[in-house]
Amino acid sequence: MNRIEKVFKTMKVEGRKAFVPYVMAGDGGLASLKEKLVFLQEAGATAIEIGIPFSDPVADGPVIQEAGIRALNTGVTLQEIVDCIREIRPIIHIPLIFMTYMNPLLAYGLERFSRDIQTSGIDGLIIPDLPIEEEEIITAYLDEVKIELIRLVTLQSPIERMEEITKRGKGFVYAVTVNGITGTRAQFATHLSSHLKKIKSVSPLPVLAGFGISTPEHVEEILKYCDGVIVGTKIIELMEAGNYEHIRALIDATKLPIA
């Protein structure tokens, strides 16, 4: 069984909620990736999303854009990132998920990429510029090596589309919480709770919410309606600032009993 599936099975049995932080590979130098993953695992992350930098990330706001530029400026390549994961994997036991855009994968070669990430110990893949209409381009290769393609559902997806996406999905469903790009938000749309409930009601898979989540209060509130949260921009900001205590506080918010 894939690590992602296994983890969520256990979480369900134990009645726990998931916390998935995002880090940009190569930001601060590739050598720092190991420390970051070790810290996040130890702090209680359920799984970790690892961003692969791309020059033109249209789904990302300024903070993740800049983290990507910092990473690219170090000259880091996808090959080096894959090799780095292979090296770190023995000490990381939680699922690792790559998040990136299509073009770096195409340049690497989709078949080779799928094989290489599997042998290096990656469990899942999120591609924000790959809607279900185009996913055939890569799914056969991923299925072959049992890498789970995590699909996104958004505030714009009508119910039939939610059903189609969650039916195809593997691992978990990524519920995008805003109309927009990544980046911290002070507030969410008032209909977010009913939207998350709707996704929960159609999805055979666990539902994790992400985009904009930035405070322990957000985490607590959103967890009332889904199975976990994904936090990107805020984690990058806190890591930049060296504020590890605040990261722990975000993760600990998932451990509070749900009111």
């Binding site: 789904a59 195409l106 559902v153 805003v178």
Partner: protein
């Protein structure tokens, strides 16, 4: 094989095109496609558009026999399709008006657009002023500097121009920001994409709205010469004036079609915008297309003296037409384009846009190899007023 039935229902031209966009935009582009297909066969929509094209834009545009330019080149006869005479000074208005009408039809009240040379921005700001739509235009900081006049035109027309500082601060980055803005405002905003690129259905919609260029050309040329031209030439940024000119000729195999990219400082240099000559297929801005990129799939900065050609990709239909060899693609350098701009100005009294000057330059080369009984039509996509400052800084001018 027929080439005019593409794209397929998923928006693919062979392997190119498609809809590689964030999920948040999927619903909007599916809706756009539905609404467009309805509008296409709705006589009231078509009449409204055609009336505006005639009375507001000034269509049809002339097909002009450039006798002096022909004499200068020595060889085949050169005709110019005068898209520079459209209201706002370029072909871009054909598409902007069509999409602004679609915006209304979809019940949306706001428009976002990107612009490079500022021609698409001006055309879109114009259409929005006419149809009472709110308008936000993203433009690279670098382009704002080179195209001051157009920036001010957009502002006078009531559009909000937002400077984009990320990446190379040119057209590619303006598209990134326009897409990000659209994702965040999709409920009341339509994205009027300015070239035959981006996710399906944009390449098709833009092509269809620009095809009026080729349709008119074909009829006008027939009337004048009682045959089809031997060659047709157009410049290519994303590829909208070119596909609009070429599309009605695709099935006429005897007509040779030439697309001209920017070779910038030369194809051997790193500074050019020749996506077909020097790029390889990849995915950017929602479509599979030829792209200037490094071996890790990071997009490279394009360079061209003309802001409108300064784009590291090329529309998916052109990629397909390149692979099946229906259209021949070539590139013209900054210096050659500057030279052609001056030649056309001095011989014919027509100052072309720097973009269009690339097509003129190529046509001059082509004409030399053709017989006087043979004919070339060049799409003169826009007028050069916007480029005067940039040209003066290159070639100098009289000082007071």
């Amino acid at each position: 094989m027929t080439t005019t039935t593409l794209p397929d229902e998923k928006g693919h031209f062979g392997m190119y095109g498609g809809r590689y966009v964030p999920e948040t935009l999927m619903q909007a582009i599916i809706e756009l496609e539905k609404e467009y297909e309805k509008a296409k066969v709705d006589p009231s929509f078509q009449n409204e558009l055609n009336d505006l094209l005639r009375d507001y834009v000034g269509r049809e545009t002339p097909l002009y026999y450039a006798k002096n330019l022909t004499k200068y080149a020595g060889g085949g006869k050169i005709y110019l399709k005068r898209e520079d005479l459209n209201h706002t000074g370029a072909h871009k208005i054909n598409n902007s008006l069509g999409q602004a009408l679609l915006t209304k039809r979809m019940g949306k009240s706001k428009v976002v657009a990107e612009t490079g040379a500022g021609q698409h921005g001006v055309a879109t700001a114009t259409a929005c002023a006419l149809l009472n739509l709110e308008c936000v235009i993203f433009m690279g900081e670098e382009d704002i500097l080179r195209q001051q006049l157009n920036v001010f035109r957009m502002e006078i027309l009531g559009a909000k121009v937002i400077s984009v500082k990320s990446g190379s601060a040119t057209l590619k980055d303006a598209v990134n920001e326009a897409l990000r803005y659209w994702v965040s405002n999709v409920e009341d905003t339509h994205y009027i994409l300015g070239s035959a690129m981006g996710p399906h259905p944009f390449p098709k919609i833009v092509r269809d709205f620009q095809s009026v260029i080729g349709q008119e050309t074909k009829l006008q040329f027939m009337k004048k010469e009682a045959k089809l031209p031997e060659a047709v030439v157009a410049c290519i940024g994303g590829g909208s004036n070119a596909i609009g000119m070429f599309y009605p000729f695709l099935e006429d195999r005897e007509v040779r079609l030439y697309g001209v990219e920017s070779a910038g400082l030369g194809l051997h240099s790193e500074k050019h915008a020749a996506s077909l000559a020097k790029g390889k297929p990849g995915i950017l801005h929602g479509a599979y297309m030829y792209l200037l990129q490094n071996q890790d799939g990071q997009i490279q900065e394009a360079h061209s003296i003309s802001a409108g050609l300064d784009y590291p990709g090329i529309g998916p239909e052109h990629c397909y037409l390149h692979d099946i060899e229906r259209v021949k693609y070539d590139a013209i350098t900054d210096d050659e384009a500057l030279e052609a701009l001056q030649v056309l100005s001095k011989t014919e009294g027509i100052i072309p846009a720097l973009e269009s000057a690339h097509a003129i330059s190529y046509a001059l080369k082509l004409a030399k190899e053709m017989e006087p009984t043979e004919h070339i039509v060049v799409c003169l996509s826009g007028r050069g007023d916007k480029d005067m400052e940039a040209v003066r800084s290159k070639i100098g001018g009289v000082k007071a």
